[in-house]
């Protein structure tokens, strides 16, 4: 089979095309392209050409499928559209560096005498709530890192490199911003009861969140093939993105206990981001599981935050 590769503007990417056996897979093609133009398979996006003026989204080739699946009748030649997605990093790498920042930066404000550089000289008295907040925070990000390596099964293997800078800026800046206020020498704690309620509720939500991740993990096979299933069990019976719900409530618990504007601001931004993800996921699952052709129909559920959405 002869494969012709063009860019979205029509320029030929690989001069003379690529010759492969008829039973070759998309992955074989990506390897061959890599040998010719030195762009790693994870940054290659191959799609079937669309009719000019067509509003349909192009069909993206799945790396596991055979190339024959994408030819219609004539299996001698196939023209594919190539897009370079830019340098990629694995999701594991991305998450690891995102979460490492808050894990390491927060204790800096707790243990090291940084506040003297902000003009606060003299002894600093550490209050119990500040110590519990440190443990809670570090437990949270250590949990996230461990989940990244041992629990999560990703839908895509990689993410663009630029996301590393953007995501790390978000986590590291907010982490430092919150750490500054919670560990401040002039920090005013809330009542003991409020602190206990906050941390207690937060721990409960973190454990629930972990259980949600286990349920999601079991929806996918270990080979890294991604794919989508209808989540069932525990809170997933009521809400599509129960993992985001428990994450949001977990931060709420932290903020009830520590009470800083910085913390609540972080909660607001995180809720906004996760709500957008949840809406996209809910939409995707409803579209995929439409009840036709033997597929189950996606049940009626809250998206992320009952009773609001």
């Amino acid at each position: 089979m002869k494969l012709t590769l063009v860019s979205r503007s029509g320029r030929e990417i690989v001069k003379g095309g690529i010759q492969l056996s008829d039973s070759a897979t998309v992955a074989d093609l990506q390897e061959a392209i890599y040998k010719r133009i030195k762009k790693h398979p994870s940054r290659q996006r191959l799609t079937l050409p669309v009719q000019p003026g067509s509003k349909e989204r192009p069909v993206v080739l799945n790396y596991k499928k055979s190339l024959n699946d994408y030819t219609s009748g004539n299996s001698e030649t196939l023209t594919l559209v190539f897009k370079d997605l830019g340098p990629q990093v694995s999701y594991r790498t991305l998450f690891f560096f995102e979460y490492l920042g808050p894990l390491l930066l927060y204790p800096v404000f707790y243990y090291l005498p940084v506040y003297q550089y902000f003009g606060y000289k003299g002894e600093r008295v550490i209050q119990p709530v500040q110590t519990y907040a440190l443990y809670y925070w570090c437990f949270h990000y250590a949990k996230r890192i461990l989940e990244t390596f041992f629990v999560h099964r990703f839908s895509h293997a990689t993410s663009p490199l630029s996301n590393v800078f953007r995501n790390c800026a978000y986590y590291w800046c907010f982490g430092s911003y919150i750490a500054y206020y919670v560990n401040h020498p002039l920090y005013t704690p809330v009542s003991d009861l409020q602190m206990k309620i906050g941390f207690g509720f937060g721990i409960l939500c973190q454990v629930s969140n972990f259980y949600c991740h286990i349920i999601l993990r079991n929806l996918r096979g270990p080979a890294g093939e991604g794919g989508y299933q209808i989540p069932r069990g525990f809170l997933f019976n009521i809400v599509t993105c129960a993992n985001y719900t428990t994450e949001i409530y977990q931060w709420l618990g932290f903020n009830i206990a520590t009470q800083t504007i910085a913390g609540y601001l972080f909660l607001a931004v995180a809720t906004f981001i996760m709500t957008n993800w949840a809406l996209a996921k809910h939409r995707r699952l409803k579209k995929l599981f439409d009840g036709k052709e033997g597929r189950p129909r996606y049940p009626r559920r809250w998206v992320i935050l009952p009773p609001f959405l």
Binding site: Y181, Y187, Q259, I261
Partner: protein, 192 residues
Amino acid sequence: MATSSVSCFEDIEGIGSRACLHCSRKAFALCSNCCCIRGLVRSPITATLPQIGSRLFLVWGILWSFPETRTHLLVSSLLISWSITEIIRYSFFGFKEAFGSAPSWLLWLRYSTFLILYPTGISSEVGLIYIALPFIKASEKYCIRMPNTWNSSFDYFYAAILVLGIYVPGSPHMYKYMLVQRKKALSKPKSE
């Protein structure tokens, strides 16, 4: 809106900085509202939001809050730059709404005066924020200090410095955007 800008322009030479500031506040409050309704409908938010933001910040956050800045020369250059830009811009929109199209000389003005007025306007904005800094620091206005029940703080001095920092990538972005718009607008056939 255009008339209040014009009368403001005359006031600068006439009555003095006090009256000028009063009417300019009104003019720019209206201007901002108009911008929101009309500007955002036509232009991308990355171009209109910085403009509205900088206008509001300069008028309320600097000039109204720190009277010591009002007598500076840069206030005149600021108001002249803004006024001429707005008079041309709203005349252009006015013609389009009333007659369906604007005369080609007005189109040319709209997409050419910015070449001078953006640098003068932006320099005036940056200059005024800079000269206001010592007053901001000394007065502690709008600052929130620790300790407080919400464990939060705000320092207007450092926030103003951050705003100055935004001008560094923001000004080339705005200028480049206008250059692109100029190319598109002035190369179109006369029918537009």
